[in-house]
Symmetry: C2
Subunit: 343 residues, 2 copies
């Protein structure tokens, strides 16, 4: 297996991408390799020659980089030789089996959708992220690939994310919740109501009904589906709120006149470290662009080496355990027929 990694993506590129590749390279099986994409002269200097010589790490040059804040549409149009497009092209041409990037999310989604096409039976790919909660990990799909969803899209997100959680988190018959504004059947907008009928109609799914925003953190479900507009807002509100709480606690401690409390704060760090390890985004590697004809993992812009390494290992697992084949098989046997040939 060949895993293409965008060396230039993310807030801390290329350092963390190189670090992540070097962490992963000795953990992947013999015969598999990592393709690093970016400024070849920089990469060559940083990668130990033994990996280049053995072919465990290959380098592919890309002369341009899409910035994290650039408009994806404009950037993809004007920077033809950017690392994300080069990466997606490798996958499309069969020169890479999976792709990993911590770069501009919109550009990754657009480039992968454009080049890799959809799996047979899938109308639109979605982004699945795994949120760590005290009730266990919860996959949320879609968090931003598709902001104008139809019920068939949400049904397919439920199918794909359910198979994903079975495989990646060893959850048997994952419980699927549909995000709405109340638990009763009468609650929700038109799309929610129609999606509920589709999910209820497929007895192979473990559908538990509507869930509300706060249920995400209560361990009531393993998979939560919503359209990309709502999912993106859930993700960003969660990130924003946590960052806000951390900021407020820091300020309160700094403003605190008692030296003792300041010292105690340091002592507390260890307890917080234990806690955050359990709920650490980086443990999960990244989000998956699910439904494309290939394996595409999109990491957070603030990824560290460990996140990139975990994303590479997750890509190995998804590919080896044939997630995509299982999705295609499941959808083929569905009463709700989606796109015929991945168009």
């Amino acid at each position: 297996m060949r895993i293409a990694v965008d060396a230039m993506g993310g807030d801390n590129a290329p350092d963390v991408n190189i670090e992540g590749a070097l962490m992963a390279v000795d953990q992947i099986p013999d015969g598999d390799s990592i393709i690093l994409i970016g400024d070849e002269s920089v990469l060559k200097e940083r990668i130990p020659s033994k990996y280049i010589e053995s072919g465990k790490i290959q380098l592919v040059h890309a002369s341009e980089v899409i910035g994290m804040d650039e408009s994806p549409v404009i950037a993809l149009r004007h920077k033809k030789d950017n690392s994300i497009s080069v990466m997606a092209k490798l996958a499309a041409n069969g020169e890479a089996d999976a792709v990993v990037s911590a770069g501009n999310t919109g550009a990754c989604v657009a480039a992968c959708q454009l080049r890799m096409r959809n799996l047979p039976g899938v109308n639109r790919p979605g982004i699945t992220i795994v949120m760590p909660t005290s009730g266990g990990p919860v996959a949320v799909c879609d968090v931003g690939a598709n902001v104008s969803c139809k019920p068939i899209n949400l049904y397919q997100y439920a199918v794909m994310s359910s198979l994903y959680m079975e495989m990646m988190h060893n959850i048997e018959k994952p419980r699927i919740g549909l995000i709405s504004v109340g638990e009763e059947d009468s609650k929700g907008n038109e799309m929610v109501k129609k999606t509920r009928d589709l999910l209820r109609g497929d007895k192979r799914l473990n559908f538990i009904g509507n869930i509300e925003g706060h249920d995400l953190f209560k361990g009531v479900c393993d998979v939560a589906v919503c359209d990309g507009f709502v999912g993106n807002i859930i993700l960003k509100v969660s990130e924003g709120l946590i960052a806000n709480i951390v900021k407020v606690v820091k300020e309160e401690i700094q403003n605190c006149k008692s030296i003792i409390i300041k010292l105690l704060a340091l002592k507390f760090k260890s307890a917080f470290k234990v806690m955050f390890k359990k709920y650490d985004y980086h443990e999960y590697g990244g989000a998956q662009l699910i439904g494309v004809n290939g394996t595409s993992i999109i990491c957070h812009g603030s990824s560290v080496g460990r996140s990139i390494c975990n994303a590479i290992l997750a890509a190995e697992k998804l590919r080896n355990e044939h997630l995509n084949e299982k999705i295609v098989d499941f959808l083929e046997k569905s009463n709700y027929q989606g796109a015929a040939n991945g168009q």
Copy 2:
């Protein structure tokens, strides 16, 4: 002014409602009064007779109560003499100038919309809540009154919430953000794009453009508008996440074997108290059902006496400072004409 309070609403009824009314009664001007609605025999026992005799507190009997988890539609249909409906009827008949309830939110919204009707020019009322953040208070509208919005609804939510923040939080020209999935104009679904044009077209508004979920906590805007489906999820995700963090921290501290850390936790309480006071939901009293022809404040189910008291005082202020008249005036001069007569 007569403020009707649903004595039977909320998780801790009637205690906190009685407590809140008694806290507020000496703070409202001479001539104003509080009408408590609920089981008259219970209320009579608990209210000091001097308030009844002076007419500062009046009692109105309601023989039924809608539970917090009941389906609003079914409950309103079958429990004709419930405290929420009795309260809304008082306002509709001109026997109360404002209403306050910590009861079943769906039932409150439905009863108030049904009985009180809309303000002239307003197509659909919305629920405005004020979220406390380290960047200052942010009004979010709608958080659940209207899950299938049109652009004109969002425009009106922006107008009404902006006037609300000017009045209640003394913010001059409140900055209005439109919740979307990216800052660029190209981002968002069709409704967001059409709403943006309406907001941009009214130069009396201080519209700053699209905002993302995490921006809510960064102090970039004073008002954030979205449809009731998205807003409800923002509210519930925020509440759920905070509850989850508190739970995790508690568990980590309990599981911690070090006695010293446990003792430190107690010391930390004071720092947390200072912090939470700033970000305390109860300080704001409750959410406002904005756009109905009257003043309707819906409190959190977990309200304490202080929240009910603050809600009563907020209702006084909104009414005295003529929020509704300002809304009607603003919308009358708008290029985008809404409903003609509050239908």
